[in-house]
Every structure is written in C-alpha cells, then in structure tokens.
C-alpha cells in the first residue's frame, strides 16, 4: 500500500462505528462528538439500531466538517467494525475509498486488501494491556482523535471529565486507554500515512450540541410545561426522561402512567386545574390516546402532544424511522374539532416550535402536535445557542365570577378559560355535548351552535400559521417540497445538485396548511415532494386543500431516513 494515499484533505469526513448493542459504541460516539466539537469542528451524529438491549448489529454515524453539517450521508470514510458481521452490516455504504480500522482479532475475519483499505489496529490487545478489554472503546476514541490531529490535552481533559464520577482507578485506566489509543494512532500514521486534514470553524465554540429529544424537552420547559404524563415507548421516551431529570429545577410533575390512555387523560385533567401539560408517545401509544384527543376536542382543553413517529402498522419497526403517522395525527379522534400540527425540521425548530405549542394550545384551547420521528429525535449536531430573549409564556387563564360559564358563546369562538379554585365561579366541563355552563344537553339547536363555535377556532388560528421556509432563489423553476425531519437532508442533497433555479420549500407547520402554499407551488415549473413514507401523505393534504397534484414523489419507507447522496441521485433522475 502506498503510504501517502491514506492522507486526505477533506471538507467533511464520515466516521461509522458498527457493532453489537452493549459493546460501548455509544461511549465512543459520546466522547468523539464532544472532543471534535471542543477541537473546533462541526459535528453531526445519528444512529440506527435494532430493537434489542444486547447483541444484534447497530451503527452510529459521526460526520465532522469545516462547515455546518446536519444530515446523514451514505458514504463512509472511516469504518470501525467492532464485531464479526459489522462490515457486512454496512456493506452497501462502503467503497474502495473507505478506510477500515479493524482489530483482526476481535472481528475474526481475514482482510481482503484488494477490496478495501484495511488497517489492523490492535484495540483489544492495547486495552488488555491496560487491564481489561472493556477499555477498547476509549482506545478507539484516542485513535480517531489523533487521526484529526486533535491535541492530546483536549482528549485527556474530556475523557477525565466524562469518567469523573467513577472511582480513581477507573478514571486512570480510561485516561491510559485514551493515551494508548492516541499513541497507537501516531504509530499507524508513521507506518501508513493515514491522516485527515479538515479546517476548523471558529463559530463552533459558542454553539451547542443538541439532539431532537433535547430540543423538544427544552422547548417544553421554555413553554412553561409543568406536567408530563407518558408511557415509555421508543423513540418518544427521551422527552419524559429529560423532564423527569430536571423536574425539581423547573417544578414539573413527570409521571409514568399505567398506559397511554391514562397519560392523556391525566394531561387533560392537569390543564383543567391550571397546569401546562404534555404527553410524549409514538405510533400504537398514540393510537390509544385518540379517545383522549377527542375528549380534548370536546372539552376545548389545551394539550401538547409530542408524537415521535416510527414505522407501523402495529409494532412495526420499533427503533427505526418513518413519517407515516401524519394522517393519523391529522384525522385521529372521533368527531370534528380543530387541531394544529407542527413538524420540526432543523433541530432548533424542536425547541422553538414546542415552546410555541404551549402558547397556541392555551390561546385557542386546542390540541397541538409536535410531530417528530426517530431520525429527528436521535440525531444531533452543533447549532446556534437557543435564544430565550423572545420567549414568552402566554397564559390564558381567567379568574371567574359567580356567573361564569365555561362555554360562553363568544364572537370568535373562544370562551375565556377559568380553572377550579380561582375566582367565585364554577368550572364545569363535560365530554357530552353541553350548554354554555358546561352541563349535559340534548338541545339540538345548541348542539349546532357548539359545533360551529368549536370549528370557528380553526379559522381563527389560521391567522398565525407558521409559513413554509423557502431555501434557494426566489425565481426558482424547480421546487423540492418537504416537511418535518427531512429538511436538512433535502437541503444538502439539493446543494449537491449544483443546479440553478432550484429551491426547497420546507413546511414546519403541516396543518392547517399555510396560505402561502398555493403561491409557492404555482410559481414552480416542476415540483418534487420528498417524504419518508410510502403513500406521500403530505402531498395528499396539499392536493385536498389546493387542488395541486404533485405527481413527482421521492418516497422511502424501509425504516431508514434518507441519505444525502441517495436523495441527490434520485433528484437527478427525477429531472432527467
């Protein structure tokens, strides 16, 4: 092997770690992403994993870059396979350019040097010399850090911090492992020439490393959330765990309910008594909540629902991703009542939209969805620090008087919302059709007025729809439409096309559909829609509301999110 061929100048590098659940991939991912950011690189990470606690084959992708990096690529520049079968697992993503750093002893395979750039790295032996092969993952982190010429001091300091709550011996051994990995890497560089030169970015230092889960959870705190009830279900559970962890600091009741039915009924009860409540759930869990959703519609109760999609039907692929529950969120719940559906694209959208969801829910007394998916929830990257300066917690609770009527018919359909114990009035809510005071009625004329009152809020809330975001030239001819979590991957794929007159239109409010939709679509000569589902659910809604039929669709529904190159190729083919 020619030694110099392994040295690369690159704008961005994709590193994939692949192995069994329980092998410590997450530790390497954690250490590396932080160390890379500390060293001044942009960093993105995402993972795909099997629905099991041990074994199987999982992979984590880390991209480091001189510029913003926010999406998953198929290409692998550095692969670290940790077990037998790991290389096979990502076979379609590796090429002759992929450098495979593998411990021959651990993966039990002979390397075919004609097919791949294999470098045998004795991770296990090095770790065993320190005291135990469990240190292999920290050795690997040291090896990779050195490939990017990150200073040893940066590595050592962070590894020390990471293990600081462990015993002195564990800290020392991990520090030794990181250092040994670093030195091992120096030897490899001397013998093979391997190394990467990626420019640093001074903006990275003041940015935050944020995942979809964290963005949604922090957004709910900023929205004044003080009650969360949920039943654990991948990939939605992280939000519950985050709020439980910070419950004391922010006066939050975080309760694991016996089922999703209890969870949503608790949340509605909490709003009734003046709390600001949310639920977090996924597919089948949300299916159980639909009765409660309908209750919120009838009671005109605010509620925030974080629905993290995963592939169905039924249990589907529990740990994978899809955008196939948009129509479920849109039509769930018996009877007719208004709702709002928001779908974050950029990670920070998760924060700002969830914050806003609480204000919208309270103001219009309607359910507001935050529609994410496993890809959004489990991915993270560095982004500008969240700005709290424009954040307001808008409360819409009134103090009642003796004549208070919860469902007073008003000009705009919104009845001032009182809560029990605040004022001299009584707050009566009923899942039956009710009169203005909230009591059960079978007055059919009143029924009609109550339906009209509830539905009139849909017109009212259209006044503050979040418009779609156009990226690219205003005088575009070709338009790529997308929504929710696909934003970053579509954006990068379109940039790679090096095509003029093409723009991306991304929707982060998917219902009610923004008024600008027609204007944007009519301007385009060709429109392509990109969705992570099989039936192009969003384009169906667009057709229903605008009459515009987007015929050109790029859909993916194998349980994985789009890769940048895959989408670039498909977009190219679509315009041929």
């Amino acid at each position: 092997m020619a030694t110099n061929s392994l040295f690369q100048n690159a704008d961005n590098v994709s590193i994939v770690l692949c192995g069994q659940a329980g092998m410590g991939i997450q530790t390497v991912e954690f250490l590396l992403t932080r160390i890379l950011k500390l060293a001044g690189y942009n960093v993105f990470a995402t993972k795909e994993y099997m629905s099991r606690i041990r074994g199987g084959t999982n992979s984590t992708e880390i991209r480091m870059s001189s510029e913003d990096v926010c999406a998953s690529v198929s290409r692998i520049d550095i692969l670290i396979p940790l077990n037998e079968g790991a290389i096979q697992h990502v076979e379609k993503r590796i090429s002759t350019q992929t450098v495979i750093l593998a411990d021959k002893e651990a993966i039990g395979e002979d390397f075919d040097q004609t097919k791949h750039k294999f470098i045998d790295v004795p991770f296990t032996k090095t770790a065993s010399e320190i005291g135990d092969k469990i240190y292999s993952n920290v050795v690997a982190a040291g090896v990779i850090a050195r490939l990017f010429r990150i200073e040893l001091q940066t590595v050592i300091e962070f590894v020390g911090k990471f293990f600081s709550d462990k015993s002195g011996d564990v800290v020392q051994k991990n520090l030794a492992a990181a250092k040994a990995g670093y030195e091992l890497s120096e030897d490899l560089q001397n013998s093979t020439g391997i190394g990467f030169n990626v420019n640093k970015d001074t903006n990275v230092k003041d940015q935050i490393l944020l995942s979809g889960t964290e963005a949604v959870a922090l957004g709910s705190i900023a929205g004044g959330c003080n009650f969360i009830s949920a039943y654990p279900m991948s990939p939605s559970t992280g939000v519950l765990a985050f709020l439980a962890k910070h419950a004391k600091d922010f006066s939050i009741i975080a309760e694991q309910a016996e089922d999703e039915i209890a969870a949503i009924n608790m949340a509605i009860g909490a709003w009734y008594a003046g709390a600001r409540a949310m639920v977090t759930t996924s597919g089948g869990g949300f299916a159980l909540m639909t009765e409660g959703l309908s209750l919120a519609g009838m009671l005109e109760s605010p509620i925030v629902i974080h629905l993290a999609q995963r592939p169905g039907p039924a249990t589907g692929l529990p740990t994978r991703t899809e955008q196939a529950d948009f129509e479920l969120a849109l039509y769930a719940g018996h009877g007719e009542f208004p709702r709002i559906i928001l779908a974050p694209g950029k990670v920070e959208d998760g924060f700002y939209l969830t914050q806003k969801a609480f204000n919208l829910a309270d103001k219009y007394q309607v359910p507001v969805f935050i529609l994410t998916d496993q890809y959004f929830i489990d991915s993270y990257y560095n982004t500008a620090c969240l700005d709290l300066s424009d954040i307001n917690i808008e409360k819409h609770i009134v103090k009642t008087n003796v004549n208070y009527k919860r469902y007073k018919l008003t000009a705009n359909g919104i009845s001032p919302r009182g809560i029990p114990g605040l004022g001299q009035g009584l707050v009566v809510v009923d899942s039956d059709e009710h009169d203005e005071a909230g009591h059960i009625t079978e007055d059919l004329d009143l029924r009609k007025r109550m339906v009209n009152k509830r539905l009139s809020k849909l017109e009212l809330l259209k006044n503050e729809i979040i418009p779609p975001e156009l990226t690219g030239p205003q005088d575009y001819e070709d338009l790529v439409v997308c929504w929710g979590s696909t934003y970053n991957v579509v954006k990068e794929a379109v940039e790679n096309l090096s095509k003029e007159n093409i723009a991306v239109l991304h929707f982060k409010q998917v219902y009610p559909l923004p008024n600008e939709t027609v204007k944007y679509l009519q301007k385009a000569r060709n429109i392509i829609i990109v969705e992570n589902n099989a039936t192009s659910q969003f384009s169906k809604l667009i057709k229903l509301h605008t009459g515009i039929d987007i015929k050109n669709k790029i859909l993916k529904y194998n349980g994985l999110s789009f890769y940048v190159e895959e989408l670039t190729n498909k977009l190219n083919e679509s315009w041929d």
Binding site: I221, N226, S229, I268, G269, A270, A273, G421, G425, I440
Partner: protein, 288 residues
C-alpha cells in the same frame, strides 16, 4: 354549612324514580356540607354511565370525562392544585370494567382523592347487561344463560394493593353511608367507597330488600388489621358493610412529587426559572 349549598335548583334529573343514585346524591351533599367544603373548592370528576351523571346534579366544579377514565384526570387535578378537594365518582362498569387498569394503578399511585363507586351490579345506561360485579347466574339480554364470570371483588383488590382507605356502604342507609363518606374524604390519600345501590329498572335480583337481607355492618373490626380486612372482603354469604381497612402511613402522590415540600403554590401560579433554563442550555456547549 347546609346541604342546600350544593343544590342545582330546578333541573331535569335523568334517573328513574326509586333509583339508588338519588339517595347517594342526597347523602353526598350532606357529607360535603358537614365537612364545610366550599363548592368552589371541590371538583367532582366522573366518567360515563348513570352514576357518572351525578356531577350535573350537584353544584360544584365538574370534570365529566370519558367512560372509565375518571381516575387519571382526578389524580392530575389534585396534583396540579392540592388545595382542591377531589372526588372521582362513577358506577361499577365504569370504574371496575372500562377503567379497571386505572383503578389498580391509581390505588398504587395513592393520590389524595376519594373514589366513590355506585355499585348496582348491572349496566344501567346501556340497559341491563352484566357488570363486572354482577353475580353468577344473573341473566341479562346478553348473558342469556346467566353470568359465569367470577364477580370482580373491588374491596379485596384494593386491600391487596394496600389502598389507604377501603369501605363499603349501602345507599339505603343514609346515616352510616354519610359517616363513611365523611371519613373517606378526610382520609389523606386514596380512599375507596363502594356503595351498594339498587337498580330498580334492570336489576330485579339485587333489590332494596335483597341488600337488606344480604348485608351486615362490621362490628368489633380492627381496620388496621390487613389480613382480617382481606378475609372480611372475601365473605360472600352475607356482605359486610363499613370501613374494612385503613393505612394512614402512606404518602399521597402529590406529596411524593416533591413539588409541594417547600411551597404549596398550585402549578398555575408557578413559572419556570428562565435563568436556570439559560444555564442548562449553556451546558449543551459541551454536554456531559
């Protein structure tokens, strides 16, 4: 305070003449008046069914939710504002059938609420099918050969889960039922009061006369003896009435949240500490 404080005035009541719900409504108003609970400070939570209509006939704050789902919102209402007195009241089908899972886990969660169950051993609103507490052999248009499912025993289940307060009353005895309700509402934690209630339209077996003949009051019973309470709860020849079991040592759910240790302000008066949020976000620059 007078029981009339809870009167709704001239309203149309949907219950049949002679319905066992009627005395329960009257007894409940008396108990609440004796306890000096202000209507503005009380929330009556119910599900769906004939018994679940009770909040519409009693002047107070009302959360009349879904069938079987009274307990989760009642738990949350109490947790969001512990100053409120919260009662969750519905029938046997609602609480023990549709809401069975919530019944089990609410007992475990132990919110400071009173769970009143009108137990008439039949479905009234849907016109006469078997309920979870219907007795074996009870014939209905659906259970045409008579019920063969083991009747649900709410008291034995509650005692098995170490519920803080477990009692059974009879709608035909106003004085004793009022006393039991009084104690249940005062109990700090979850309290179950199962009230036998004749259904004059759909249950021709468990009539006023039948309940008189098949019940008796517990005497010389130590409610702190859990084993004995369980034994009493499983008696079927004659059904005991009274307070079966008390455990006053448990912390209520809202206490366990830890939110009210330092201050008792309800959640609606609280705001997140934005400075704390700012410093939490700051930590994501290098999240550990």
């Amino acid at each position: 305070m007078e029981a009339q404080s809870f009167d709704m005035g001239d309203i149309d009541i949907a219950w049949c003449p002679g319905c066992g719900n009627i005395p329960i409504l009257k007894i409940l108003k008396q108990a609440l008046a004796e306890l000096e609970i202000e209507p503005t400070n009380l929330v009556l939570v119910s599900g769906i069914g004939q018994a679940a209509k009770i909040p519409h006939y009693l002047k107070t704050n009302v959360f009349n939710g879904l069938h079987g789902r009274a307990l989760p919102p009642a738990t949350a209402i109490k947790a969001a504002n512990p100053a409120l007195t919260v009662l969750a009241e519905s029938g046997d089908g609602d609480m023990y059938g549709e809401g069975g899972n919530h019944f089990l886990h609410t007992i475990r969660r132990n919110p400071n609420i009173t769970n009143i169950v009108h137990n008439n051993m039949v479905y009234g609103l849907t016109k006469g099918q078997a309920s979870p507490t219907s007795q074996i052999g009870f014939k209905t248009p659906v259970q045409v050969n008579g019920v063969f499912l083991e009747p649900f025993n709410p008291l034995a289940v509650a005692i098995a889960l170490d519920a803080g307060f477990v009692a059974r009353a009879y709608a035909g005895d106003a004085e004793q039922t009022k006393e039991i309700l009084n104690k249940a509402i005062k109990h700090r934690g979850y309290a179950l009061v199962d009230i036998f209630q004749p259904c004059v339209s759909f249950n021709k077996l468990n009539t006023y006369q039948w309940f008189k003949e098949h019940t008796y009051y517990l005497e010389d019973h130590d409610p702190f003896d859990r084993q004995r309470a369980f034994e009493k709860a499983t008696e079927t020849d004659k059904l005991p009435l009274g307070i079966f079991y008390i455990n006053s040592e448990k912390h209520a759910f809202e206490e366990n949240t830890g939110l009210y240790r330092e201050k008792d302000t309800p959640l609606y008066e609280r705001e997140p500490d934005m400075e704390k949020l700012r410093s939490l976000i700051e930590k994501f620059k290098i999240p550990l």
